[in-house]
């Protein structure tokens, strides 16, 4: 959290994250460019520029695969959540690696010609009407442009400027970028002489990304089924049965699904209960999966914090989230499903006190 925009607010965890990422990428490129060729069974070495474009291209593809796996992995197993924390650095680095790949392509395949290399890139193969021989470079350009836009807008300034819903929608284009990259590879590199290892790697990437998203989607669907009782069990006009107070651990929350788009997190802390929207104002993180730290709701994704009673980020921060009214009948928690405007103070319900 920050009240001013600086390029990167470094902390130890971000440094460790980036260091591991840099080591992995450097190792990949070093082995691909310097070590692997010694073990190739070739008459003459592959051109250095082609070797490097393959190294950077495949590296960007694998990085994109891992990036897309982090989200569903963190849904399936919360121990992966720390990988999400600094994912934007991963994304920016991927865009950089992809740009180097493109630069090698431009400087080799589209160079040494009287035609400008950018003009050549767009005009040399125009067989858009055929599958085999399709200008697969176009998919690569589209993917790279998306990665550039996402990298350029990854900073919190853009999140604040565009607002979380638009920013989030924009960054969902990462899936379009991945699809374009898969098509770029499938209609380009995979159409060359048989390469079972690269083919298997691309297939494994597609299966992994789709499989993990499918699995986490099922988990979410089951969660909604589990909460369906909240919607169906109106005990009292205008109130929803949210569950038993004993279901909620101290300093933790229970998430109640009101509709597909609306979930409420009911927190238990200091012998009291408070309810807020489950959606963090920062990047739509699931607040109900966070905890209460230093008297504040703390988002599990990036640690954004809110006061429990009014949903306002502690000063000097300015983020606000919607709050909800609660009441306790015996040990049963009832929730008023009408969200209050973000930042509205609601008196916490005291457990064991008068309802």
């Amino acid at each position: 959290m920050s009240v001013q925009y600086t390029p990167v607010i470094w902390n130890r965890n971000k440094m460790v994250y980036d260091a591991i990422l840099l080591i992995a990428v450097a190792l990949y490129l070093y082995i691909f460019i310097r070590v692997g060729p010694f073990y190739e069974d070739v008459t003459r070495p592959i051109d250095g520029a082609i070797l490097r474009m393959r190294a950077f291209g495949s590296c960007a593809f694998l990085m994109l695969t891992v990036i897309l796996c982090i989200g569903p992995l963190a849904r399936l197993d919360r121990r992966f959540l720390p990988l999400l924390y600094n994912r934007r650095h991963f994304g920016v680095m991927t865009a950089g690696i992809a740009a180097v790949h493109a630069n090698y392509v431009l400087g080799w395949y589209f160079n040494f010609s009287p035609t400008d290399s950018y003009v050549a890139l767009l005009s040399s193969n125009t067989s858009y009407g055929q599958v085999l021989g399709f200008p697969f470079e176009a998919f690569g350009i589209a993917a790279l442009l998306i990665l550039f836009v996402l990298a350029a807008t990854s900073h919190d300034f853009w999140l604040s400027f565009l607002g979380a819903p638009i920013w989030k929608a924009l960054h969902m284009f990462i899936y379009a970028a991945y699809a374009f990259v898969v098509l770029h590879v499938a209609l380009g590199a995979l159409q060359g002489p048989s390469d079972p290892i690269f083919t298997s790697m691309v297939a494994a990437s597609v299966v992994l990304v789709s499989g993990l998203h499918f699995a986490s989607g099922r988990l979410e669907a089951n969660r909604e089924k589990g909460h369906a009782t909240a919607k169906a069990s109106l005990e009292e006009a205008g109130w929803v049965v949210a569950g038993e107070v004993d279901e909620i651990d101290d300093n933790c929350a229970k998430v109640v699904t009101l509709s597909e788009e609306e979930r409420v997190a009911i927190f238990r802390y200091d012998g009291k209960l408070s309810a807020v929207t489950n959606v963090c104002a920062h990047q739509n993180g699931p607040l109900g999966e966070g905890k209460v730290l230093w008297g504040c709701i703390t988002c599990p994704w990036h640690g954004y914090q809110y006061n429990l009673a009014d949903g306002r980020a502690p000063a000097p921060f300015t983020e606000k989230i919607a709050t909800y009214k609660l009441k306790l009948v015996g040990s049963t928690v009832l929730l008023d499903p009408n969200a209050l405007p973000p930042g509205t103070y609601v008196e916490p319900v005291v457990i064991g006190g008068a309802s």
Partner: protein, 253 residues
């Protein structure tokens, strides 16, 4: 079915430098697997790349010969037999992705000395032209032979740009190289047909249209694909020329 946060579960907050111990171990193992996995992937991909063949520039074997420049329909250089060495015909390319039509046109039917660098792959040789000068000796009397027809053939293989495939790039063929080949051909580099089966022991052919004309944009959709095409094969000294009838062309895969 729903997951919920519990008091005992480790909770990671990025800006707090302290990471819960169970997560440190988990993330440590994951990081190791991530780094090692990428390293292994790099090795597996890099060490199993396909052989691009032996094509290369022959920098240590500069070309300097006297002969005649012709357009058939692409620029070729004809040199007379010399003792036991039979007459030869070389395909020509310029620097980079450029042809040498202008130099050939300007020096046609005049004996010239041509200097350049051979780009060679097996029996496919392309000369990258450096300098063309009027011949200083007396090369009169050299009349290049006319092409000898070897009949009509149906060939399967790939249309490549003759320079990259000869060794200017390794690899210099396939769909990943298609746009580059397109650019080379547009620039005037002669197209070459790389046949999967030999004709008189040769698998590389300088291409021409069915009436011996230059191939235009009609080859663009066929470039770098595995195709079948019919046409007349001619022999020009040691150079095979395939006058392809592109109307018979069929993409095989």
């Amino acid at each position: 079915m729903s997951w919920k946060q519990t008091k005992s579960a480790p909770f990671f907050v990025g800006y707090l430098n302290k990471v819960p111990k169970p997560l440190v171990a988990f993330l440590g193992v994951f990081s190791l697997c991530f780094v090692a996995g990428l390293g292994l992937a790099a090795f597996a991909l890099s060490s199993t790349q396909n052989d691009p063949g032996n094509g290369a520039f022959q920098w240590g074997n500069r070309f300097e010969q006297t002969g005649l420049l012709e357009l058939r329909p692409y620029p070729v250089f004809r040199i007379p037999a010399n003792g036991d060495a039979p007459a030869r015909t070389y395909m020509l390319a310029g620097q980079g992705k450029r042809g040498v039509f202008e130099q050939t046109e300007a020096n046609r039917e005049t004996p010239v000395t041509l200097r350049g660098v051979p780009v060679n792959r097996g029996d496919l040789t392309m000369i990258q032209v450096g300098q063309v000068e009027p011949a200083t000796g007396d090369p009169s009397g050299f009349t290049p032979s006319e092409p000898v027809s070897l009949g009509r053939w149906k060939l399967t293989g790939e249309i490549c740009d003759g320079k990259c495939y000869a060794g200017a790039m390794r690899p210099g063929r396939g769909l990943a190289h298609k746009a580059c080949a397109d650019l080379c051909l547009t620039g005037g580099i002669p197209p070459v047909f790389v046949s999967s089966g030999p004709v008189e022991g040769r698998t590389f052919f300088l291409m021409a249209g069915k009436d011996g004309q230059l191939l235009g944009e009609a080859i663009d959709p066929l470039l770098a694909l595995y195709i079948e095409v019919e046409g007349e094969v001619e022999k020009l000294d040691d150079l095979m020329v395939f006058k392809a009838d592109l109307l018979t062309a069929r993409v095989l895969k």
